[in-house]
């Protein structure tokens, strides 16, 4: 591996652009009050990040151990910063008088200090700080590209948002600052090899998350932010505990070595399990979903960036990283079942929601559960499925969040019921949203490709496959319902694209196009990137054949299917264009329809609105009842997992 580094001239530069540059940009934007300049800094940073991440593609795998930053030992810098960060948490805890945060910060500080003491003393192995393989690369690409696109869209969004809230003193600069900070931290997390680094960046994302959730400063926002903070601190604490136990065994905080040293011993598995707990919390798995739901109070770009496409992926990323280490262990199987449960429960709870953002949030939890299930299954097929799911979920979910944000700014509601007939008011946005939904649930799009792989990969694990089968049926319910609502009457057939800022169209458009192109390119993406991830020990499970992916017992002809689907789509579009000439009749209202659309002549000759609302089946899928049950079950699962590790 050492020689790979020497070959890669420029990799350190790229990495510092990816990690350090956003930090600097964040510091730059903070004092800037001019909206123009803010836009400039943000777009520039985004563009640079996109370019850098693309340039990184041919350079994996690599390891890198920078010695110093501005002459100070880099490890010392990071550790110090980590301490500082934890004291900031403590401060927040005191400021808001939040006991849990106080306790957790102190616990973290103490354990970090303990770890430091131990690393300083003893024979101290300096490990490579950064490491990148295709898995990290994919996450870097997601964070940098999707992240930047979201940042672009947040520029017009925040402008409208502040106008809407009638904020007197703009706080946008702070917002952008945190956003950029986050992008750097995100890249940092997925590129860290030294677990100290990992923890530091992990906590930076937690801080960003807190700041962004409480951005609007309303009491509810602050409360939800604090909840996110304590829950994620708990995650950080789990990480630290895991690290301590890793160190006890390895005498190093080296993520790569940890996996290579895979063993079935109890202490090893406990450390892995503890790290996984941290990951579960970051990925908002039950019973820790609360913070993610609360996070929906933040301005929508935040949800798009942190709470669906990138930050929550840190958790599943970590588990995927650790997976080879627990191959064959019962722990791994438990994680699979836990993930499948999260998938099912998330989908079920999403069915009970009419709040668009909450549906997205639950759907995110659900998808992360599926990814976890794949990670836990720990077969090459499952791994492939997990990575496809990460990629496509990031793109499509970001798209959907941005759509909801755009819609919300126009109709002043994020409730699905209020989006009925949106295609009349904002036809293009509605169409884009529907495309997003289609990409969520229909073949040949990537998410379905991932789900297909997942089911075929889980087929031998009965418990998992039953839950996945049920969960995916539930998924169809809430997406189809939403898409139908958007396209409801009154759409007369003429098409007036609504006006939106250029950056909004750009962001939405590029995400839709991205989803489509990536789908068609999926087999080649697979061939180019995935093989690298699957080493060591896994042989590539699929062959690319006839534009599709195939193995001994299944085949998914991506390209042919895409072509056929496109033809079907084109025919339907032609029909649709012609259909503008059909006679439009009023819908069936038992013969009582009036000239006003959707009104009928009710009792006493009074016009009544034929309200038609979706089913949310609150008696079955209502949050109140179901969530308690789910949380209980999840807790039991977690205890089982810990037991399995022991």
């Amino acid at each position: 591996m050492e020689h790979a580094v020497s070959n890669l001239v420029g990799t350190p530069v790229l990495l510092s652009i990816l990690i350090v540059f956003p930090f600097l940009a964040a510091l730059t934007v903070y004092p800037v009050r001019s909206a123009r300049l803010q836009t400039l800094v943000v777009t520039l940073t985004g563009a640079v990040l996109i370019a850098a991440s693309l340039l990184l593609i041919p350079r994996t795998p690599f390891t890198l151990s920078p010695k110093s930053l501005l002459g100070v030992d880099i490890h010392v810098v990071v550790e110090t910063a980590d301490f500082l960060l934890l004291f900031v948490f403590l401060h927040i805890g005191f400021k808001h008088n939040h006991t849990l945060i106080k306790i957790l910060s102190v616990l973290q500080i103490v354990s970090l200090a303990y770890l430091d003491v131990r690393t300083m003393s003893g024979e101290h192995l300096r490990v490579a700080a950064l490491y990148g393989d295709n898995l990290s690369l994919i996450l870097v690409l997601v964070a940098s590209i999707v992240g930047s696109i979201v940042c672009f869209q947040s520029i017009p969004y925040m402008k409208a948002h502040e106008e809407h809230l009638e904020v007197e003193k703009s706080t946008r600069r702070r917002f952008f600052c945190v956003l950029l900070l986050f992008l750097g931290a995100m890249n940092g997390v997925v590129l860290s090899n030294d677990m100290g680094f990992f923890h530091f960046f992990f906590e930076v994302t937690t801080l960003c998350c807190f700041l962004l959730i409480r951005h609007d400063g309303t009491p509810a926002a602050v409360a939800n932010g604090l909840r996110a903070l304590w829950m994620n601190s708990l995650g950080g604490f789990c990480l630290l505990l895991g690290m301590i136990s890793v160190f006890t065994r390895l005498h190093a905080l080296d993520l790569g070595r940890l996996i290579e040293l895979s063993s079935k011993s109890g202490i090893y598995l406990v450390s892995v399990a503890l790290l996984c707990f941290g990951a579960f919390i970051k990925s908002a798995q039950f019973p820790f979903q609360g913070w993610l739901l609360g996070a929906m109070i933040a301005p929508t770009p935040v949800s798009a960036l942190l709470h669906s496409s990138t930050m929550v992926k840190i958790g599943v990323y970590l588990v995927l990283r650790l997976a080879p280490g627990m191959r064959g262990a019962f722990l791994s199987e438990c994680i699979a079942v836990f993930g499948a449960f999260g998938f099912l429960a998330g989908a079920a709870l999403a069915v009970g929601q009419s709040n668009g953002k909450k549906v997205l949030a639950y759907s995110t939890i659900s998808n992360l559960g599926l990814i976890l299930a794949c990670a836990g299954l720990n077969t090459p097929e499952a791994f492939t499925a997990a990575i496809f799911l990460i990629m496509f979920h990031s793109v499509v979910k970001a798209l959907l969040f941005l759509c909801v944000g755009t819609i919300e700014q126009r109709i002043e509601s994020r409730d699905i019921e209020d989006m009925r007939g949106l295609c009349a008011k904002m036809p293009v946005t509605a169409l884009i949203t529907v495309s997003g939904v289609i990409m969520m649930i229909m073949p040949p799009f990537g998410l379905l490709l991932g789900k297909w792989m997942a089911i075929e990969a889980t087929a031998k694990n009965l418990a998992v496959v039953v839950m996945v089968a049920a969960g995916s049926a539930l998924t169809v319910v809430y997406w189809a319902r939403w898409a139908g609502t958007l396209m409801s009457e009154p759409f007369a057939g003429r098409f007036f694209p609504e006006r939106q800022p250029f950056l909004t169209w750009g962001a939405l458009g590029s995400l839709v196009a991205g989803g489509g192109v990536m789908t068609v390119a999926a087999p080649w993406l697979y061939r180019e990137f995935f093989t690298g991830i699957l080493s060591p020990g896994y042989s590539p499970p699929y062959v690319v054949h006839g534009g599709g992916l195939e193995n001994g017992w299944g085949a998914f002809p991506v390209l042919p299917l895409a072509v056929v689907a496109a033809i079907g789509f084109a025919v339907s579009i032609v029909a649709l264009r012609r259909a503008s000439r059909v006679r439009i009749v009023k819908p069936y209202l038992s013969g009582l329809q009036t000239d006003t659309p959707g009104m009928f002549l009710g009792p006493g000759n009074r016009p009544v609105k034929a309200e038609a609302s979706n089913y949310y089946l609150s008696s079955i899928f209502g949050e109140k009842r179901l969530a308690t049950l789910v949380n209980l079950a999840a807790l039991v699962f977690l205890i089982l997992i810990l037991g399995a590790a022991l």
Binding site: V477, F491, G568, A612
Partner: protein, 283 residues
């Protein structure tokens, strides 16, 4: 290549013809069971041709799009099946059709369409997991999700997967819109939500939905036939008996509500499937 094209063409022609014929026979048999004469066997074709030539009216042009999309998806699913491709993929493709049908119905503001659409979603919710589990069962037995491999499997699957076949029968009842599950679009008009899902589809678009339905039925029956793929007689007999049982069930039960359906399909269907799968595992 030529082979493939021939198979595709043959499927696209034969499936609707067969589907219509089955539906015609179904209506005659139902009439007989009710001591009636019933329509001629080609009645479904008359219906569809008539509908295709009616004035196209729609409540919302999206509905037109959805009708076409539904038909396309159903056709693609059957063609994929004919080509012996991946069973799961076929099921997913067919589900796409169902989703478009629902989206089309939701595009109306009539509560009748809407209630029908939601019931259809609930029906999908009831049977989709069972279908996936049937596919999984077939995989566990034959070691492949590919339909071509299943066809070539040496012994009748029915003997190994009897409970899964029963679960498939449940799915078939739902899909054929037969009592006690004819909830979202009863094939006859006397129900509380009029024609439910199909209330606001009209004229040619209704015809598309009908043809798409034929494709769906053929697909499911074909799937049933896989359970006795070793001999033609066995295959035809199995499908005929299964369908006859469906018709009889339709005539000896009242229509239930969706709460019952969801509970029954999940409790009964999942139990049947899981028992069968466990059995496969243990062996």
């Amino acid at each position: 290549m030529i082979d493939t094209i021939l198979v595709v063409a043959a499927t696209l022609v034969a499936a609707p013809l067969l589907g219509g014929l089955i539906s015609g026979l179904d209506r005659i048999a139902t009439a007989r069971l009710q001591s009636r004469v019933g329509p001629p066997v080609v009645q479904p074709f008359h219906d569809v041709i008539k509908l295709l030539n009616k004035e196209p009216v729609a409540v919302n042009v999206w509905q037109v799009f959805c009708a076409y999309a539904y038909l396309s998806a159903s056709m693609i699913a059957v063609v994929l099946f004919a080509l012996g491709s991946d069973l799961l993929l076929v099921l997913f493709t067919q589900a796409v059709g169902a989703v478009f049908l629902v989206v089309g119905a939701l595009s109306s503001t009539s509560p009748y369409s809407l209630v029908g659409a939601h019931r259809e979603l609930l029906q999908t919710l009831s049977y989709e997991p069972l279908l996936v589990l049937v596919a999984v069962g077939i995989y566990l037995q034959t070691g492949s999700f590919k339909i071509a491999d299943t066809r070539a499997w040496g012994a009748p699957l029915l003997l190994k997967l009897p409970f899964l076949y029963a679960a498939l029968g449940l799915v078939l009842t739902i899909k054929l819109r037969k009592s006690p599950f004819d909830l979202s679009t009863s094939h006859h008009g006397h129900q509380e939500i009029v024609k439910g899902l199909l209330t606001d589809y009209s004229g040619p678009f209704l015809a598309f939905v009908e043809i798409g339905h034929w494709f769906d039925v053929i697909l499911l029956l074909w799937l049933c036939s896989l359970f006795w793929a070793t001999s033609w007689t066995g295959m035809i007999l199995l499908v005929a008996v299964t369908y006859a049982l469906e018709v009889v069930t339709d005539n000896v039960t009242a229509r239930m509500n969706w709460r019952w359906m969801l509970g029954y399909a999940w409790a009964m269907g999942l139990t049947l499937s899981v028992v069968n799968l466990i059995w496969l595992h243990v062996r």
